[in-house]
């Protein structure tokens, strides 16, 4: 860790003007600073800014302050009742200690866990564009399979963001000059292209101030299904966030997103369209799953993720549409 200036902001305006690296929970940033993957000259601590730590009603939805901790958000009774998918996704990630510190805004902005990004002896375009990508030809079990570029194969590690994507949340951003804008969460993340160092569309001085959840999907069935190499405290191999609205056997709406498979929470509109209006069946799910994984894996070590995603997708939809024997499964239903 290199010496840095520390500035404690008391208002979002101060923070925006300070032109430094924003720190909130620091659960990822401090690790990155210790190993000198990022070397900010100034840290702007936003944790003392008032008004960013609340969850408040926002129409029929919720406005979640950027500083709300992962723990507080996951355990909020309104979230658990109306958006159980979000609660479950958060609890599927990290450890209790980390969730106590990690914030909503910070979770969205955490960096990839690609091991080559974390090892400064290895070239990495996400650290230094143009340097090369050591993951190409390297050890790649955790890499992405969709949406990568020749310059970067890294996957986004967040679970929370995957649920927020399925739930069509919006991100509220305050620009340096104070104007607020709201964008769908999918639009927060950039495709890596030849600038994988830029994970998001945020410009200098932009601060995420809140995440807006739209009205709950009343009566929907929701599951966050994460598969990982051990039962807890591990990043996902693949995950499926699903909220399904049904009438009888028919899938009316399917809200889906996939984690650990792309540089951002992955969505595939064609998949949802193939499901909607159809009666749930194994044949349908198998067809749709094949469409979902039609792209080849860009690294031999992640070829398994296509199979695993396919199977996890089918298993999740079977559970939600009650094709599966329900014993041992765990489905949440939103409450009116």
């Amino acid at each position: 860790m290199r010496p840095f200036d520390y500035f404690r902001a008391t208002a979002t305006g101060d923070a925006a003007m300070a032109s430094g690296q924003i720190i909130a929970g620091g659960t990822n940033l401090l690790d990155l600073m210790k190993i000198q993957v990022v070397n900010p000259e100034t840290l702007v601590d936003i944790t003392r800014i008032e008004g960013l730590s609340e969850i408040v009603c926002h129409g029929d939805g919720l406005r979640i302050g950027a500083l709300v901790t992962n723990t507080a958000l996951a355990h909020d009774t309104r979230v658990r009742a109306g958006w159980p998918l979000l609660s479950r996704a958060i609890l599927a990630g990290a450890s209790a200690q980390i969730r106590n510190k990690a914030t909503t805004g910070g979770n969205l902005l955490q960096r990839t866990r690609c091991p080559y990004f974390y090892d400064t002896s290895q070239p990495c375009n996400k650290r230094t564009p143009g340097e090369g990508c050591a993951a190409q030809g390297g050890s790649g079990r955790m890499l992405a399979i969709f949406g990568t570029s020749e310059h970067c194969l890294a996957a986004h590690p967040s679970d929370m963001a995957v649920a927020l994507t399925a739930l069509q949340a919006e991100v509220e951003i305050r620009a340096r000059k104070g104007d607020l804008r709201r964008i769908p969460i999918q639009q927060l993340y950039r495709e890596p292209g030849d600038r994988p160092d830029r994970d998001t569309v945020l410009e200098a001085g932009d601060i995420i101030t809140a995440v807006i959840l739209p009205a709950p999907l009343i009566g929907s069935r929701q599951v966050y299904r994460k598969v990982r190499d051990r039962a807890s405290y591990a990043f996902g191999l693949v995950s499926v966030a699903a909220a399904i609205e049904m009438e009888g056997d028919t899938i009316m709406r399917a809200h889906l997103s996939y984690g650990s498979v792309a540089p951002h929470p992955w969505t595939d509109d064609a998949v949802a369209e193939m499901l909607e209006g159809q009666a749930a069946s194994d044949a349908l799910f198998a067809n749709v799953a094949d469409a979902l994984i039609s792209e080849g894996a860009p690294h031999p070590d992640t070829e398994y993720k296509r199979t695993l995603l396919r199977r996890t997708f089918i298993a999740t939809l079977r559970q939600l549409t009650v094709l599966a024997d329900r014993s041992g499964t765990d489905i949440a239903r939103t409450q009116a």
Partner: protein
Amino acid sequence: MTDTFTMDSPQPRLLDQTGQGVVGTPMNRPDGPHKVSGRASYTADTVMDNVLHGVLVRATIARGKITGIDRDSIRSIQGVIDVITDQRMIRNPAQGMAGEAPVQPGDAVYYHGQPIALVVAETFEGARDAAQRLNIRYETEKAYVTPEGTPDREVADPETAGDFDAAWKAAEVRVDQKYTTPSHAAAAMEPHAAIADWKDGSVTLRSSLQMIRFNKKELADTLGIEPAQVRILAPFVGGGFGSKLGLGPEAAAAAIASQKLGRPVRVVMTRQTVFDCVLRRSETAQRVRIGATQDGRITAISHDDTVSNLDGEGFSEPVSQASQFLYGADGLSFTQTVARIAATPAGSVRAPGEAVGMLGFESAMDELADSLGIDPVELRLRNLPDTHPMDGREFSVRGLADCLREGAEQFGWAQRGTAGTRREGDWLIGMGMASAARSSMLVKSAARVRLTGDRAVVETDMTDIGTGTYAILAQIAAEMLGLSPDNVEVRLGNSDLPGASGSGGSFGANSAGSATFLAARKIRARLAEQLGCSEDDLTLQGGRARGGNREMALTDLARDEMQAEATIESGMTAKSHFSSGFGAHFAEVAVNEWTGEVRVRRMLGVMSMGRILNEKTARSQALGGMIWGIGAALTEDMQSDRRDGHVVTRDLANYHVPSHADVPGDMQVLFLEERDDWANPIQTKGIGELGISGAGAAVLNAIAHATGKRIYDFPALPDRVIAAMEAAL
């Protein structure tokens, strides 16, 4: 006073006669409250005035030479004192019990991650910053970094008994399978650390080390000084698992820097450095062949393996160690190949050999049972040899059959049913079992016991690496001297004290425990003499001595300090009798038929491991071993880059040891009552490593039973389970 007792014949079971009643009890660790309240001082906790901080710099090429170190690149960093390079620095930790310096590479680089310099600064942060920014110039050489790719292979002569080839040819049923296991990290909680303070021509080293008697010689040899000029302190060690057996590069570097700079120097490895340069367990490629008659008599056993290590390292993972004595056959053959690669060197990691060898061997046994249509427990029971199949030694005492029977009974093995038939929702349920075996050793060890009144002190340079040494040595001394264990103080981890075996190979309790026992026995003899009775007639209990119609309080009998030192070493009994812990592991797993996730639902380990000195710490060790077994079977997978050999999984978020959620609530350990008269005078066997030996195989065999399909490349990660399930019959 320091005459050596040699274990040449069985000794009376004195600990069963003494009557104080503390040996074997589940006594709490006396050091426990210190540890949980932060008062136990681990190496890096030690506060010293004027201390400097050193951070190791790692090589970032796989092989070659350092041609220049650009000291200017860090000159601007505040507080940087020096960049230490020295011909005496060591390439990697010493192998266990080496007692001499490891390779001192000079400017040669042997693997990516090798410590090549120490940056010393006034602060840890400054030193780490400088270590990361220091520019090093190299001349690179061709490096072979994978066991498959290297042309440099050493094939050992086969170890054989009988005629394997003939027996294999004649076998009516054969299993011939290949297995692979990846490298493992010891993953001790406490990172490797050292503080060296060089004063007046001698050095005091505080370091997290398992074997001080050997480490002292290793440091002296490294520095080119006499062992008498070295003092080592390691009162608390935060886990070792083999990775702290030998002196490490951080200790050598700290000592060299302290000598040069005239101030104490503290070097604490970052977690990434621990992965880079602390000895790993080798990956293995195994071939197991077992032949049998139709009625289930094993006739041929072969277990060949390929492991890797860096040039110049004498250690090779003894993969087939347990395969050589668990079951009998007409012909047995074991051949090891060592592939020399430019990568983090390999050494002892928790149960070297058995921990991975038994994954393959006991999986093959399970497959043989399937092929024969014989229950796996029954197959093992039918094939227990009368004597050690390789050298004909008698078994000292072998409780394997009882463990197998008792385990099957307790676990409900009879309800196991046909493979691939039990399910709960999406989860396939299966049961598996495996034998456990880990040979037991006695290593030269000394201890001193001092008695004043009703208070005793035990002194030895033995270590407690979290295993319970403080507890068991207090219990042995208390038992022998008729004292409450609260009245016994145990002093460990100081090289000024009598030299012990150290903690390794599960021989610490056998060895240091026996030395403590013998020293206390000498004091008993003196107490008997003072009381005027024979030793046999003496009873020491509750702080009082009785014998020859006299009774006295120890406070009166031992007013002046009585002191005795004893040394034990292995003798004739080890030549005539083979001592090993035995056991049987049982596991029930659930396998998700869609995602390939495996959850262990319950586990039982039944173990016969000689006299249990402390029921609580023994159980903790056995449970810990079984959890490591889950890790080997399901999660632990150290990955290296196939181009330059560097370790890719360099932290505990990417190297997965079992978390709480991976360990079932229902984990049972049962100890069978046993005394090993041929092992040592306290009739114990090694405990620590038996728990892991075979445990992973029970989990893997349960997966095979749940799914009806077998996996041959471990750990059984979800994608591998899926691939097995999707494979055609």
